[in-house]
Amino acid sequence: MQNRFPLRVLMLASAVMLAPASATWAETPADTLVIAHQIDDIISLDPGQSFEFSGQDVVRNLYDRLVDIDPLDLAAGIKPSLAESWEVSEDGRTITLTMREGVTFHSGNPVRAEDAAWSLQRAVKLNKSPAFILNQFGFTAENVDERVTFDGNRLVLQLDQPYAQSYVLNCLASEVGSVVDKETVMAHAEGEDFGNAWLSTNDAGSGPFTLAAWRPNEAVQLTANPDYWQGAPAMARVIVRHVQESSAQRLLLEQGDVDVARNLTPTDVEGIAGNDRLKVMDELRGRILYMGLSQKDPLLSRPEMVEAMKYLIDYAGMESSFLKGQWKVHQNFLPEGYLGASDENPWTYDIEKARQILSDAGITSGTVKTVVRDIREYVDAAQTLQAAMAQVGLTLEIQQMTGAQVLDAYRARQVPIFIGEWGPDYADPHTNASTFAHNPNNADDAGLSQLAWRNSWAVPDEMNRAVEAATLEGDTDKRVQMYLDIQKQYREIAPIIPMFQKIEQVAMQQNVQNWTSGGSVSSVLYRQVTKE
């Protein structure tokens, strides 16, 4: 179903034929924002569990965090939210946050430091996917009750190391740092689940919206919280409808039945270009499309081979053809928009140079395999690479699999060349540095999940230490420089090659203002959206 080329041609041809007839045009209610989006990945709306793109989009709007990042104003950095202010102790190991007074949850209960402490303790003890973000500060299920405490309206975090303030706060700004209404959730607890079953399908937040309904694979409905402490949202209702097909999303948008369509293919984006009722917004997101070369493979583990591969990727060619408008060339593991991101893109498509590097190393032939997910972009990228490799005498075998199968093989370190995406987990550079450039134990049974480990890359000790040190650097300017240095060295030696950064093309009615999908660091926000 991914390859629908003939279908599109037919669709387009038919559309051209039928185009002169004009259609009736509806309009959604003025106080309601209707969005067509693929939301079938949501498995839970519990902030302690949710870790899928669309799930975080919902959680972000139901809950407040202690501190926040405004994707519309990234330069401002971390801003106070439920925590009004914070201070770090002399030794850098204790952070004390003072809670804002007078904020209430959707239930009417006041937001207290006790709730904030309990929310963090709960997320750690639940130990679901996002728990590791908090585990990084030394919080474990056993010690979190002593390390995260409250005193009056102050929340006290005791860290195991003097971490950079920006690192800790960036992590607290992610969805797992959401402050949850303790009383409400505990009233619905079953056994030892901390209310997880209930909270997966309900909301207990203080955010700008409340959850009206979530019908899986069908729709999410949010209702504005009129008493929101930062002011009631302009939209009284937000309805996200699950629409799988790009063509169907486009039709709904053109008919005025939805305000925003978030999954249009490049063809459909082009198709609506002439429609002056609609506009398309490009927003840079955090996902990186990269190529991993397994260092278990005898050929791929040779440094010359790694170097040559960097010149066998047709960056510009792919960017202007099948990735057009959706990805831009980006050859660093930190996405643009992140602290310490680098904009140096040194490699270009250069067959001659690759051939030279390979022949100097005595490599004139060889066969490698790639296992790619059956997504059009990945398969096209693999085929482009195959053609380039053929020119220097190398054979690339392409094997297609479903996403789950590829992931299984990748986690088992059995993919020689991996082509795929990585999305950052939280808004701090450590999220990508720790996965691309950190692998302290390269043994098969290390039980880790970093990309470096999956590609069997034994990261040099020096780089491992640099990545760890960067989390402890209190001076933000120095910290930025550390990441720039790590990325410089990374570009020289790493066998995991970042190639592109995601651009989300969001199509919407002209009257929709202030839309953000969350930029590269965050998720969608509806509070500031208006319709004029």
Partner: protein, 336 residues
């Protein structure tokens, strides 16, 4: 006495059928190369988190123990929680199955109302223009990809003409307006006496239902035609004609009555296959039905959802069989 024994036999066959179905589905689900744990813990999980979830899901036990454990829960009416939606499976099924039933019923209704007369007339006027049209209609119905036809239908009737509602079961403003009684929006809006909501729901269902109706029409009309041809060449038809009965009475009164039994089987089968959910139609029309639900669950290794769906679809098939069995007896006195 005989009735009691028959009912007991039916009940037993129902239980055995479902048990067999569940066992096969369960085994297939467990040997599939898909890891349900990853769906739960996410791709970032460490080995320790993974192992914990693996154990919590009972996957470390032998398959037969897992199956027994599952069956014990089902017998208590607990279908478990779906890992791909986070909701209890029973709750999911209560939502997605009515959506499919609504669509399948309307589709079959269209298929029967148009397909049967078309097949009968095509047989009666064999080689005539109606027969030719019926043949083309059936051929197109068999060979057109439903995906393409659905998109084209949407483009034309929704995008250009604006005659029908777009993808989804309801327009945005009617969403949640009608209280759920049966889960069939057409019925629920009538129960609530909300005509506007009924019209809206109807404008959304008419296109996908016509599409499904067209496909079952193609099948039903071809089968009707061949059943009728067989009857029309039988001796009793010749006798009836010689006796001077009108052609109409020969066809509808004699021949047609005799094809009712096989025809009911055909219709029941066609209805049954639509009740499984037509995945592609559901995708094109953003129809939250059981076909998409089961398919998605299967791809995620979400066995609770797959098995729950299987029970529902399996029960429907058995029930349809039973129903056509009863109809046979009513329609054909020779059947015992």
């Amino acid at each position: 006495m005989r009735l009691g024994r028959r009912l007991a036999g039916l009940g037993l066959s129902l239980v055995l059928t479902l048990l067999g179905l569940l066992l096969v589905t369960f085994v297939i689900g467990r040997v599939m190369p898909i890891d349900p744990v990853l769906k739960v813990v996410g791709e970032r999980a460490t080995q320790a988190q993974y192992d914990a979830a693996f154990q919590a899901m009972g996957l470390d036990k032998p398959i037969w123990q897992q199956f027994l454990r599952y069956m014990a829960e089902v017998l208590q009416g607990d279908f478990g929680r779906s890992i791909s939606t986070g909701h209890p499976v029973a709750q999911d099924l209560r939502r997605v199955f009515p959506a499919t039933v609504e669509l399948a019923t309307l589709g079959t209704l269209i298929g029967v109302c148009v397909g049967v007369p078309l097949g009968v007339v095509a047989a009666a006027r064999r080689g005539g223009w109606i027969d030719q049209i019926a043949r083309v209609v059936a051929l197109v119905g068999y060979s057109m990809p439903i995906f393409w036809l659905g998109l084209m239908g949407l483009l034309l009737f929704y995008g250009i003409l604006g005659w029908v509602g777009g993808p989804g079961r309801q327009g945005i403003i009617y969403d949640g307006m009608v209280p759920t009684v049966t889960g069939l929006i057409l019925v629920d809006s009538l129960v609530a006496g909300n005509w506007a909501a009924f019209r809206d729901a109807f404008s959304h269902i008419v296109l996908p239902a016509s599409l499904l109706g067209y496909f079952s029409l193609a099948y039903i009309s071809r089968m009707t035609r061949s059943f009728m041809l067989e009857q029309l060449s039988a001796e009793y038809v010749v006798t009836a004609r010689v006796k001077g009965l009108s052609e109409r009475r020969v066809i509808w009164g004699h021949a047609f009555r005799n094809i009712l039994v096989p025809l009911i089987t055909v219709i029941a089968l066609s209805f049954g296959s639509l009740l499984e959910g037509s995945v592609l139609t559901e995708i094109v029309f953003s129809w939250p039905g059981i076909g998409q639900y089961i398919t998605k669950a299967l791809l995620a290794g979400d066995m609770n959802a797959v098995l729950g769906g299987t029970v529902v679809v399996g029960t429907c098939f058995v029930a349809l069989n039973l129903l056509s069995d009863i109809l046979y007896r009513l329609l054909d006195p020779r059947a015992t």
